[in-house]
Structure formats: structure tokens, C-alpha cells
């Protein structure tokens, strides 16, 4: 059944009603154009953002994330539903266009969709309309009856918009019914006049309608055909013009949002695009203070959010009841844009965002773990926005008192504790290290640098990771040294907390110290440091995390493990955000664990790219947002649910947070945390058994024979 085969007996009105249809078209298109133009006003006033390079990579993203709906199946039910609706829409887009154009010229046929191809196309769209219709029914029932948790709006974020969602879903269902009715009435008329063979598409919506209409009079069919057509026109244009006012705007904007998505996601947005670090002193105001300080792409993100709640469902901050929830962070941004850039009145701008739509605590609550960005099917960016808002807060001097001290200490001493530089290498003194560690600040010459970073250098508990790392490197035969008092904090979290200038000072100091040492290779035991060297520093030698060094040593045979002695310990690996999600190092740590003979390992439900943050590293150690329950406590419970009693992690912050969480959760003696480096160090088969026992206590019931 082809769209352009018309039956004059019942479609005569197409001719007579041409003026009406043309008017609807003209009004609909004009209204949509006006709305889009108004929506573009803030984007024109926004900060610039270079997103026009690398068209091929961008097209690849489009193929994968837009057309391929790559992220959707991460949520099975909703994902499959969306893929069905999306494919239906893609198929129906051409048909909707044809149907609309029939109103202008009644024998219009889409070029390329005539003859046999046209028939196949028609049949597939009949089914597409049916599938979309059924999906809508299913989605409405799902909203009404099952109402999944992630769609709900906690009271602190305002009212739920279930009504709006159901209204939009119903409208699409109406569109599908109208379209099918129009086709079915025509087809039924054709059967009666023997002008056509009717539908091939058995069990489709038009097919069902056609059966129902078979015996109707020509007059009735004419009226139904007209009604279907008019309803289709009105519903189509209403939806087109209504979508830019809510969550369905993504139907239009997603294509652009995904095309213009950030390609180098791990590299933090510069303070201003197009301003180099050398010229940064000339930038008057840092960061985002008013809505117009966002870049146009960040505003497009706000428009594009479909309010699906996947970000928040995975966000540690939201889950722990902190004031930040990525979903509402975005919808608040969108509401601001809609309110301050209205359709008819003059645009008002320049209001401070902090204190009006966002709170300071909300902005400081983010751990930058990246779970939201990993999940978002529309590739909305969050971390850059949060960091930009923090830059604005820092620029205005609005930094929580608890963060001011560590920041000032980082400025004067190069570490957040305010400890003296000369004590930075004190962890390496003492009997626990059989061979002394080379000090590159005194005598350069080693090939490899172990960059220890601040917390691992100074925190009593974490120093054991430093010593374990040094012993592993010694066992692996690496020619390595440390920078000692010449090392400063890598600045990784200084940058992510918005203190860009301090970060630049720390980075420049470290980069020149590293260059002066002449090393060819950097190793670190801290994923934050690893991320800094990979993405924040330039012109420094390549960096490896200790888990990668271990995996390399095991593969080459330079390192071997002896079997675990404890029989009851069940290990699980907690992916640190900056090793896993931000840098894709998932397999090496697991490979290392699995290389230990006799080690029993289970996976937590949330692992790899869905790993759940420990509560936040870096400066988050010094900031305690309001929360219902510690993030780390939730994580420890997840390990417990997985049946593990030892959590292995590969980050000093994860270890500290989880260790604290075990105490808070009252699981002392039942659960333990150990760093991968510490565990590997214990298990490396050596001749001299001069290994320190860490302060970490493997639970008694699993420490049999230890």
C-alpha cells in the first residue's frame, strides 16, 4: 500500500482543503522556527566553545551514540523501549513528511520511495507505527503502575512531572493512531472500489483499522480519512512546537548534542577556550557565575536532557542524599533558561546562579567520579560545568573554610596538610625498606620516577602503600627514584576544585622537577596522580599506574606470586574512578589479583564502568557535605552483598574512605580493605621475606594460617 495512491472518492477534500492545510503548515513551521530562534538566543550570548573540529570522529560518535543508541541498553527495559521508539521515529520521519506534503500537493511521493522500495517502506512503517504505539502504551502503564524509582523527584528538588510525561507519551500515541487511521480509511476505500489489494502488513495498526472499517460506507470512510489526516497534522505540529518546552526537546537537539559532544572527555575544559595558560592572567573573571558564563554547548546540554534519571541513579552524591543530583542540576539549568529567556518578553540575564538556582554545598558535593557522564545516553557533560562553577566560587572567594586551609597549605608547602617539604620522603626511612630509595632531588640518574604525591607521602596509613610500591618496584628490578622534597602535590584535585592558578603553579613546578631529573618513565600508586599526568600535564614522560607495572611484571615473568594462605578470604575489586572510568584501566588490576594462586574473587554488582565512588578523593577529604549516609558505607555494603570480606582497591583515597566506612557501618572484623600494591607486595615470591605487615587486618575468620 503506497502513501501516494489516493482514492479520489474519499480524498477529494485534500484538493478543496488545500488552503486550510497550507495555513496549518505555514503556522506550524513558523511557530517552530520562532521557538527555536528564541531558544538559540542564550546560546548566542554564551561563552565560546570549540566543537567544530574532527568531523569524522564526531560523525562516528553520531553513528554510535545517536543512530546506534549505544548507551541505552545499560538499562534493559527502558533501553529496549527507547531503541524501538527511536527506530520507529527514524522510519516514520519520512512518512510523516510525505503525509504532510500530501496536503500541499496530493500526488506527492517521496523520491526514491516509489514502486517496490516504496511498498517495502510502507509495510515497515505500518509496523513501526504499531510498535511505537505499543511502546507508548507500555511506557504509560510503566509510568502509572510501576513508576520506577529513578523517575521520582525527591521533595527537595520540587514536584514530579509524571503528568507531563504521560501527556507527551499519549500525544505520540495519538499521532500513531491518526496516521494509521488515515492509511486504513484509504485502504478500506480502495478495497471497496477494487483499486488496490489492501495492507500486506498483517497485525499492524493500520491493518486492524482496515478490518474494522471494511464495511463502512464511502462517506464514513471519507470523514474518517479526513479526521485522521487533520488529527495527524494538528498533533504533529503541536508536538513539534510543544517539545522545546520540556523533556522531549531532545528529539530535535540530541543529534546536535551528540555531534558536538566533547571528544577528549578526560581533559578538563580550559578556563576559557582559546586562551592559553600563558595568557590566563588577562582573563578578568574565572568560571561560571551567571548563566551566560556557560558555553553554548553546555546550554545545549540543558536543553537536551531527557530527564531519564540515569545520571542521578548512578550518582554517589545523589544516592547518599547530598544536595547535588546531576539530573536536577541540569533541569534547574534548563528551567533557568526557559524562565529568563522567555518566548515573548525581553531576555533578562546576569543573575548569579549560586544562591538562586544552585547552592554552594551542591557544587562542592560532586566527587567528579564521572558516573553520570558514563551513563548519559545523550553525552551530557557534568564535570566541566561543576568545575567551572567552582572556578567562579573560588574567583569570588567563596570557598568553604574547611577547604581554605588545605588550599593555602598547598600554596605554601605543596601539600594539603601543611607539612614541611623536607619531610616529604620520610616514609622511605626505616627498616621496612630493605634497599634505600634513590632520591632524584639529590642525585638524578634513574630511569623511572615513582611520583608519590601528597597523601601517600604524609598520611600515616597511606605511607604503607608508598613502601609497598617501592618494594614492588625493587622486586621488579626497576631502576627508580623519588623526587623527595622537590615533589609537590600533582594538583589534580586542586584543579578539579576550581583553583586553576594554584594548579598551574604546582604543575609547572613538578614538570620542571621531572624534566630536571631526566627520567624516561613515571610510575604512581595514586589514580588521581595517574590521571593528572595523563591528561593535565604536557611534556612529561609517559605514566603507568602500579597495577600496570605489576601486570607487566607478571606477564614477563619478572614477578611471581606465592599462594594466599588464608582459606576463607573472599576478595572483591573496587574500581577507583580515576583508574577505571576515567582511564579505562579495568583489566590489569583484575589480572594481577587472578594471578595470585588460590585467591577467591567475586565481582560487586556495580563494578567496572558502573563502579560506585568511595566518597571522593583529593580535597573531598577535607570537605564534608550534608548527607544521609556516607557514600563509602553504601559501597562497603555492596561488597558485603557480593559475598566478599576483603575489598581490594588501588587508590589511597578509596582505601581511607572505605576503611572509615567499615568502622561507621560497624563491620570491623568482618570486612577489610587492602590496597592492590599492599596485597601484591605481600604475595610476591621473594628470597628475602622482609615485608612489612600493614596496619590492615584481614578479618580474623579469614586470616587462618596467616
Amino acid at each position: 500500500m503506497q502513501g501516494h495512491s489516493l482514492v479520489p472518492e474519499i480524498t477529494f477534500w485534500l484538493d478543496h482543503g488545500r488552503i486550510l492545510f497550507l495555513t496549518i503548515h505555514a503556522l506550524g513551521v513558523a511557530a517552530f522556527a520562532y521557538i527555536v530562534w528564541r531558544r538559540l538566543v542564550p546560546l548566542v550570548r554564551a561563552e565560546r566553545d570549540f566543537r567544530f573540529d574532527h568531523p569524522l570522529s564526531r560523525l562516528r560518535n553520531l553513528a554510535q551514540f545517536w543512530l546506534g543508541q549505544w548507551k541505552h541498553p545499560r538499562y534493559k527495559t527502558a533501553g529496549i523501549l527507547h531503541i524501538l521508539i527511536f527506530s520507529g521515529f527514524i522510519l516514520l520521519a519520512m512518512r510523516a513528511f510525505t503525509v504532510l506534503l500530501v496536503g500541499v500537493s496530493h500526488d506527492f511521493a517521496m523520491p526514491g520511495l516509489t514502486g517496490r522500495v516504496g511498498e517495502i517502506y510502507e509495510t515497515s512503517t505500518d509496523y513501526a507505527a504499531t510498535v511505537v504505539f505499543l511502546c507508548m502504551v507500555f511506557a504509560i502503564v510503566r509510568r502509572l503502575v510501576f513508576n520506577p524509582e529513578r523517575y521520582q523527584v525527591p521533595a527537595r528538588f520540587g514536584k514530579a512531572h509524571k503528568g507531563d510525561a504521560i501527556f507527551l507519551l499519549s500525544l505520540i500515541a495519538v499521532l500513531m493512531v491518526a496516521d494509521s487511521l488515515f492509511e486504513a480509511a484509504k485502504s478500506a476505500a480502495m478495497l471497496q472500489t477494487h483499486a488496490g489489494a489492501g495492507f500486506q502488513s498483517t497485525f499492524s495498526l493500520p491493518w486492524l483499522f482496515q478490518i474494522a472499517l471494511q464495511s463502512r460506507s464511502m462517506d464514513d470512510l471519507g470523514r474518517l480519512c479526513f479526521s485522521g489526516y487533520l488529527l495527524h497534522e494538528l498533533a504533529f505540529y503541536f508536538l513539534l512546537c510543544y517539545r522545546p518546552f520540556g523533556i522531549q526537546f531532545h528529539v530535535e537537539t540530541s543529534l546536535f548534542n551528540i555531534y558536538f559532544a566533547k571528544l577528549d572527555r578526560e581533559v578538563l575544559k580550559p578556563v576559557k577556550y582559546g586562551v592559553s595558560d600563558e595568557q590566563i592572567d588577562q582573563v578578568k573573571s574565572f568560571g561560571v557565575k551567571t548563566f551566560e558564563d556557560f558555553t553554548w554547548k553546555h546550554m545545549l546540554d540543558f536543553y537536551t536532557c531527557a530527564d531519564c534519571g540515569r545520571c542521578s541513579a548512578n550518582c554517589p552524591s545523589h544516592t547518599a542524599g547530598r544536595p547535588l543530583s546531576p539530573r536536577f542540576f541540569t533541569t534547574k539549568g534548563r528551567d533557568y533558561a526557559f524562565q529568563h529567556y522567555p518566548m515573548f518578553r525581553k531576555a533578562g540575564n546576569g543573575r548569579a546562579l549560586i544562591g538562586s538556582i544552585y547552592s554552594e554545598d551542591e557544587i562542592w558535593s560532586c566527587t567528579t567520579c564521572g558516573a553520570c557522564e558514563e551513563e548519559c545516553p545523550l553525552l551530557i557533560e557534568y564535570i566541566d560545568k561543576i568545575v567551572d562553577l567552582r572556578r567562579g566560587l573560588v574567583d569570588d572567594g567563596n570557598v568553604p573554610q574547611s577547604l581554605q586551609k588545605p588550599l593555602k597549605a598547598l600554596e605554601s608547602r605543596g601539600n594539603p596538610f601543611g607539612k614541611m617539604e623536607k619531610k616529604r620522603a620520610d616514609w622511605a626511612n626505616g627498616k621496612d625498606l630493605p634497599h634505600p630509595v634513590q632520591r632524584l632531588d639529590r642525585s638524578p640518574g634513574s630511569k623511572t620516577l615513582y611520583f608519590v604525591d601528597s597523601v601517600t607521602s604524609f598520611d600515616d596509613r597511606m605511607q604503607s602503600i608508598a613502601r609497598a610500591t617501592a618494594r614492588i618496584l625493587q622486586a621488579a628490578g626497576e631502576d627508580f627514584g623519588i623526587l623527595g622534597s622537590a615533589e609537590r602535590d600533582s594538583g589534580h584535585d586542586v584543579r578539579r576544585y576550581g583553583e586553576e592558578m594554584l594548579f598551574l603553579a604546582l604543575r609547572d613546578h613538578n614538570a620542571s622537577a621531572i624534566r630536571a631529573s631526566g627520567v624516561k618513565h613515571i610510575v604512581t600508586s595514586d589514580p588521581h596522580t595517574y590521571n593528572a599526568f595523563r591528561h593535565d600535564y604536557t611534556g612529561v614522560p609517559p605514566v603507568e599506574h602500579i597495577s600496570q607495572v605489576l601486570a607487566r611484571g607478571l606477564r614477563s615473568g619478572a614477578l611471581t606470586f606465592r599462594p594466599v594462605e588464608s582459606g576463607t578470604a573472599v576478595y572483591t575489586y573496587h574500581d577507583p574512578c580515576y583508574l577505571g572510568r576515567h582511564n579505562g584501566v579495568y583489566d590489569e588490576p583484575r589480572f594481577v589479583l587472578d594471578a595470585i594462586p588460590g585467591l577467591r574473587r567475586v565481582e560487586m554488582k556495580r563494578s567496572r564502568d558502573r563502579s560506585f565512588c568511595c566518597g571522593g578523593g583529593g580535597l573531598m577529604l577535607f570537605y564534608e557535605p550534608r548527607e544521609d549516609e556516607r557514600i563509602g558505607v553504601k559501597r562497603v555494603r555492596m561488597a558485603s552483598e557480593a559475598g566478599a570480606n576483603v575489598i581490594v582497591t588501588a587508590c589511597p583515597f578509596c582505601m581511607t574512605n572505605l576503611e572509615d566506612a567499615i568502622k561507621v557501618a560497624g563491620l570491623e572484623g568482618k570486612m577489610a580493605v587492602i590496597d592492590l600494591a599492599e596485597l601484591a607486595d605481600q604475595q610476591i615470591a621473594r628470597n628475602d621475606r622482609s615485608v612489612e605487615s600493614t596496619s590492615n587486618e584481614i578479618p580474623q575468620e579469614c586470616a587462618v594460617g596467616r
Binding site: L407, K408, E500, L502
Partner: protein, 263 residues
């Protein structure tokens, strides 16, 4: 309202391991990190907030050497519009009265409606504010926790009295106030702000510029002399509780009550 805040540079207690020098009359000053006297930050923040409400300027002044410019710049990065350094070899070793006299001479040559100091210097004795007011014959209030500007002649200040009560007093301007910490939340001073004021001029005044007699200030004129400096020996009064969590909690409560921590 033109406000002058007297500030000072001190060894940062949170970022140093304070150790005695070999002669035992001072601390080991190599490797020390100096920074703004923390209580002075509250005074500067309060001055900035007053000016934001009623208009005017905020100036910061310190007595010291070239190194002390650093703290003036930090306060200028916070928002103070002028920094003034009072420096002279003759000033070295001044006691609290000497510092107050130097400041008084400078203030008499200028017109400030309000003079603020921090509640005390971290390495000092909370002397200068009171003495400065006396030397200037200005009204003085110490430990101020709130300031309300009534008009360009009068202020109301709130002070916290031991036990948590509050007292409100009225003062005529010009006056001297010492500002209690906790009156506000001092704003953060970032690297960007410090770099932005790096090249602003800071005028300096010597004893001669101020018309000060050299013999009235400095170590020789000091009426207070330090005779000893020591780090107290750590006493072993810490008690480790070894029982179960519940038993420990109960015992801690008992101890707190016994020592008068809870009534």
C-alpha cells in the same frame, strides 16, 4: 567610611613544626612558613563587608620589613584598596607599646574613621589594639562579634560575654575595635587574586617620614623583654580505652561528666 586594618605576619602554626633554637630563647626560624595572622583576616573581611554596605575604602597597614609586604598583598587580593608598610631598622624588636606608638603616629597623619585589629596576634598578647586606642585617645571595644554602622558618627558593636550572653555598646567614631574570630567567614584568596595585585605600589614610611623619635621605639625602648621560650613537655594524661564499643562509650560519658565537661 575609610577603614584602616592593622595586620601582622606570623609563623603559620598549622604549617610548621615549631621547635626551639639551640640557645632556647626563640623558635627555629629556618624552614618556617609565615602567613597572615589568622585573626586579622576576620578584621579585613569585616572592613570589606562594612564598606560594601555603607561605602568607603579599606586600607591595611603593617609594621615590619620587606618580607611583610606579602601579607599586605594577600589582604589587598582580598579586596583592600591600599597597603602601607611602616618600616625602619629602628623598629626592630619593638614591644606591643612600640608597635602601637608607630601605628599611632601613622594614623595621626591620616584620617580614618575606623581602625580595626585582629583579636590578637598568634604569637602576641592582644596588646596593640587597646594601647593604640589609648595613645590616640579614641574609644575602644575589644572582642567585637558584630558591627552596626548607625551613621557616619556612631557605631553599635556587639561583644560576647563569658557564658554566651551578648552586650551591645555604642561608640563614637573614630574608634578602635579588636575583632573576634568567627564574626564572619573570611573570603578565600586565590593565586589569581594575589597575582593581580603583585605589581601594585605599596608606599613605605620610615621613622623619619612619620616624625618618630628613634629612641621611643625598637628593642631599646621595649618595656617588656622576653626572658624564656619553651615548648611544654607532653604529659602522659591520655587514657586509652580498650573495651568494647558500648563499654568505651559508657566510660567516655562517665569521664566527661566526672571532669566537669557536662553538667
Amino acid at each position: 567610611m575609610d577603614i584602616l586594618v592593622c595586620v601582622r605576619r606570623v609563623p603559620d602554626t598549622s604549617e610548621n613544626d615549631i621547635e626551639l633554637n639551640s640557645t632556647g630563647n626563640d623558635i627555629e626560624r629556618d624552614d618556617l612558613v609565615y602567613s597572615i595572622n589568622e585573626p586579622d583576616n576576620y578584621a579585613v573581611e569585616e572592613a570589606l563587608q562594612i564598606v560594601a554596605r555603607v561605602g568607603g575604602t579599606v586600607s591595611v597597614v603593617t609594621v615590619g620589613g620587606e618580607d611583610d609586604e606579602e601579607v599586605l598583598r594577600r589582604e589587598m587580593a582580598m579586596g583592600a584598596s591600599h597597603g602601607i608598610l611602616l618600616t625602619d631598622v629602628a623598629f626592630a624588636g619593638s614591644d606591643g607599646r612600640g608597635i602601637a606608638l608607630i601605628l599611632k603616629t601613622f594614623i595621626q597623619k591620616n584620617r580614618y574613621a575606623l581602625i580595626l585589629t585582629g583579636v590578637q596576634a598568634e604569637d602576641g598578647g592582644a596588646q596593640v589594639g587597646g594601647m593604640l586606642a589609648a595613645l590616640l585617645d579614641y574609644p575602644f571595644a575589644s572582642l567585637v562579634t558584630a558591627i552596626e554602622v548607625l551613621d557616619d558618627k556612631k557605631l553599635n558593636v556587639t561583644r560576647e560575654i563569658e557564658g554566651g550572653n551578648r552586650e551591645i555598646s555604642q561608640l563614637d567614631l573614630p574608634c578602635v575595635l579588636s575583632i573576634q574570630t568567627g564574626i564572619n567567614e573570611p573570603r578565600y584568596v586565590g593565586m589569581k587574586g594575589i597575582r593581580a595585585v603583585q605589581s601594585l605600589p605599596i608606599p613605605t614610611y620610615s621613622a623619619a617620614d612619620l616624625g618618630l623619635k628613634v629612641e621611643e621605639v625598637g628593642a631599646a625602648a621595649a618595656k617588656l623583654k622576653r626572658v624564656d621560650y619553651f615548648v611544654p613537655v607532653l604529659d602522659k594524661t591520655a587514657q586509652m580505652l580498650q573495651g568494647s564499643r558500648e563499654a568505651n562509650a559508657a566510660e567516655v560519658m562517665e569521664l566527661i561528666v566526672a571532669k566537669g565537661g557536662l553538667k
